[in-house]
């Protein structure tokens, strides 16, 4: 080919412009994905960074006098072990004379220390009758100190830890009387006013129970409603009206469902306040429209030829639906359920309205007992004044995200199984 002749196989001007437009579009798409990935990584990274501190807890070793005159071997639980802790602290730091200094000194250990000592003595009564070295939880300020999160360079009046406390803590650390442990109590305790004792278990169990109730109510009701509306209901004004309203309900703010739950489930039916049962019912109301809409869409996506084949074989409409159409639509229904459940798990507002915002220490044993939920716990901790709750908040968010991922994973695996069968 010589210069000057233009091959028709070469791109002309207009064609080159089209190619450029295409590559511009693709790069915009890539940029959007990269940006959202960056935000996701930033979010998860910052939460993990802040939350990792909550994974360890600090203990202080005290030498306590468990002589017979202090502890009654017949009645360990009745003995005033808190006093023993305090006297142990006084003996280790005899320079604390003034009342104010003593108060600071007692503040080094958690208010739970007496009970922890009691549990240790109960487990090993041979400790009675002499002095013993025991490990008890440190207070939240010591906890932060041990993680190096306290800035000594600040003026004393701006710090939570005074110079005197620093002196004591440095001595404890020097003697090896401070230790960092994996924070099991965070996963086995309920909530507490003391950050060093606060755990996630009651909120976790509360969330699990609430979501279980929500799923058991909304999934069967949702897919049955979708199947009826899509496969059996006559198409008329009434069914149009219902459809419009279901679509509207999906867009109703969740707090409105909370108000509905408050006035109907609590005030009219008198169901127990703050219970996972009511929480689950309210979240089910909120989730139903999502599941119904997704299920109807997936039912509509089943090719009509399958229905014709079944009906042509002499299957009744119910048989056609449940033998052929519904199983094919199942993966789509699961997708709807995943979306709905994920939203329900993370929703706080409706739970506030039905009292699940209460300060609940005990782990609920049934769906009728007062409980709180993970997002509400996060909300409560984020609101707490103690510095150590910042880490707890992030850790609770991590637990919530892990819960969410596990739940979605289970749903996706179930969906896979359904997809494979066909």
């Amino acid at each position: 080919m010589t210069d000057g002749t233009t091959s028709f196989l070469k791109g002309q001007k207009a064609l080159l412009a089209r190619h450029r437009a295409e590559s511009r579009f693709q790069w915009t798409g890539r940029f959007a994905i990269a940006l959202s990935l960056a935000f996701l990584i930033f979010m998860i990274g910052s939460i993990a960074w802040q939350g990792k501190g909550a994974l360890s807890t600090t203990e202080v070793q005290l030498t306590v006098d468990l002589g017979d005159d202090n502890v009654d071997p017949e009645d360990i639980a009745g003995s005033r072990l808190e006093k023993i802790i305090k006297s142990g602290l006084r003996e280790m730091f005899p320079e604390a004379k003034k009342r104010k200094q003593k108060k600071l000194l007692y503040g080094l250990v958690s208010s739970d220390a007496g009970f922890q000592l009691r549990d240790q003595v109960l487990a090993d009564p041979s400790m009675i009758g002499g002095t013993a070295d025991v490990w008890v939880s440190a207070s939240d300020d010591v906890w932060l100190f041990a993680k190096g999160q306290v800035d000594r360079n600040l003026p004393e009046e701006d710090r939570r830890i005074s110079d005197l406390e620093f002196e004591w803590l440095d001595r404890l650390e020097g003697e090896g009387r401070l230790q960092q442990l994996f924070n099991w109590p965070f996963f086995t305790n309920g909530d507490s006013r003391e950050p060093e004792l606060a755990g996630i278990l009651s909120a976790f169990v509360g969330s699990a129970l609430t979501i279980a109730v929500c799923f058991l109510l909304s999934f069967p009701i949702g897919i049955m409603a979708a199947i009826y509306l899509e496969e059996f209901a006559p198409k008329n004004r009434l069914s149009d009206f219902i459809e419009i309203n279901i679509n509207n309900l999906a867009a109703v703010p969740s707090i409105v469902f909370g108000l509905l739950g408050l006035s109907i489930f609590l005030n009219t039916f008198g169901l127990p306040r703050s219970s996972p049962l009511v929480g689950g019912m309210v979240l089910a109301l909120m989730t139903l429209p999502t599941i119904i809409i997704a299920s109807r869409a997936s039912l509509r996506a089943v090719p009509p030829s399958i229905r014709e084949a079944a009906l042509g074989m002499g299957a009744s409409p119910i048989q056609s639906t449940f033998h052929h159409v519904a199983p094919l639509a199942m993966p789509g229904m699961f997708t709807g359920a995943i979306v709905g459940m994920a939203r329900a798990l993370g929703d706080t507002a409706p739970l506030l309205m039905i009292g699940m915002v209460a300060f609940i220490v005990d782990v609920p044993n049934s769906i009728l007992e007062p409980a709180t939920a993970l997002p509400v716990q996060i909300f409560l901790w984020a609101d707490a004044p103690e510095r150590a709750f910042v880490e707890k908040t992030s850790a609770a968010i991590i637990v919530l995200l892990a819960f969410l991922i596990l739940m979605n994973l289970a749903a996706i695996l179930l969906r896979r199984r359904f997809e494979k069968r066909f």
């Binding site: 198409k235 090719p303 084949a309 079944a310 074989m313 048989q319 052929h324």
Partner: protein
């Protein structure tokens, strides 16, 4: 046309409306037993609509309204006490596009007998599945993969699977709605052979666009045009000496 036996399907004055459009006008047609009857005509002439009246598949279309009388083996299928489920068990249908269930080959064929409770034991069911697949000329090709998905077969095999599924409940009548229009010529030839064999056991009504196919497989032909039945008779007569000018025009390719 000399008839020894009573026709199995008798249609009289059949009108079908889709909302305000009338699709069929006063159709009257007798369909004999153990013969292949083909319904031919240009697109939109109402032949598929008529076919779907025979097993009341038109009931599924909300806007369709069927008037007139159709009886099968002497029973009016539009009588108020007729159960369409029972009717469709006796009038099987093979569709234009192969539509096997997304299940195994075996389950596809066994589905009808299962829901109608036709077999007493697993062995009975196995035999019935084998019989149906043999009748549909598919047994040799699928006997080693009965438990693989029916949707994994080729188009022609899928259509024969659908035929096996239809005949597994031993209906009186088999309706076929352009069963070969989605298939290649070899698969088509296979199905046509099959239709000829099935005639022994079943009365077959087939809608087709192909006049060659109609002349090859059917003993009787009915020509539809614009919602009316123009002419019906022995296939040989229709194709060699049509009485109506429109039939003449259609089979010579001038309309259609």
């Amino acid at each position: 046309m000399a008839k020894k036996k009573e026709p199995i399907i008798v249609a009289r004055d059949v009108d079908v409306h889709y909302a305000d459009n009338q699709a069929l006008f006063k159709i009257a047609l007798d369909i004999p037993e153990n013969k292949v009857t083909s319904l031919i005509g240009p697109s939109g002439c109402g032949k598929s609509t008529f076919l779907r009246c025979i097993n009341r598949m038109n009931d599924l279309v909300d806007i369709a309204r069927v008037q007139g009388h159709i009886s099968i083996a002497g029973q009016d299928i539009y009588a108020p006490d007729v159960d369409v489920v029972a009717l469709r068990r006796e009038v099987g249908m093979v569709f234009q596009k192969p539509n096997p269930f997304p299940k195994s080959v075996y389950d596809n064929v066994a589905y009808g007998p299962k829901i109608h409770g036709l077999t007493k034991s697993k062995a009975d069911l196995d035999n019935l599945v084998q019989w149906s697949l043999e009748k549909a000329g598919l047994w040799d090709e699928v006997k080693d993969r009965l438990h693989e998905p029916g949707t994994g077969l080729s188009g022609g095999q899928q259509q024969r699977l659908c035929i096996a599924r239809t005949i597994s409940v031993k209906p009186k009548v088999v309706l076929m709605d352009e069963p070969c229009s989605a298939l290649d010529p070899i698969a088509t030839a296979r199905i046509e052979e099959l239709i000829d064999e099935l005639r022994e056991n079943f009365s077959i009504v087939i809608v087709t666009h192909s006049m060659q196919q109609a002349s090859r497989v059917s003993q009787l032909t009915a020509f539809f045009h614009l919602g009316t039945l123009v002419e019906a008779g022995r296939t040989k007569d229709i194709f060699t000496s049509p009485q109506d000018e429109r039939t003449q025009n259609y089979i010579t390719g001038r309309i259609g």
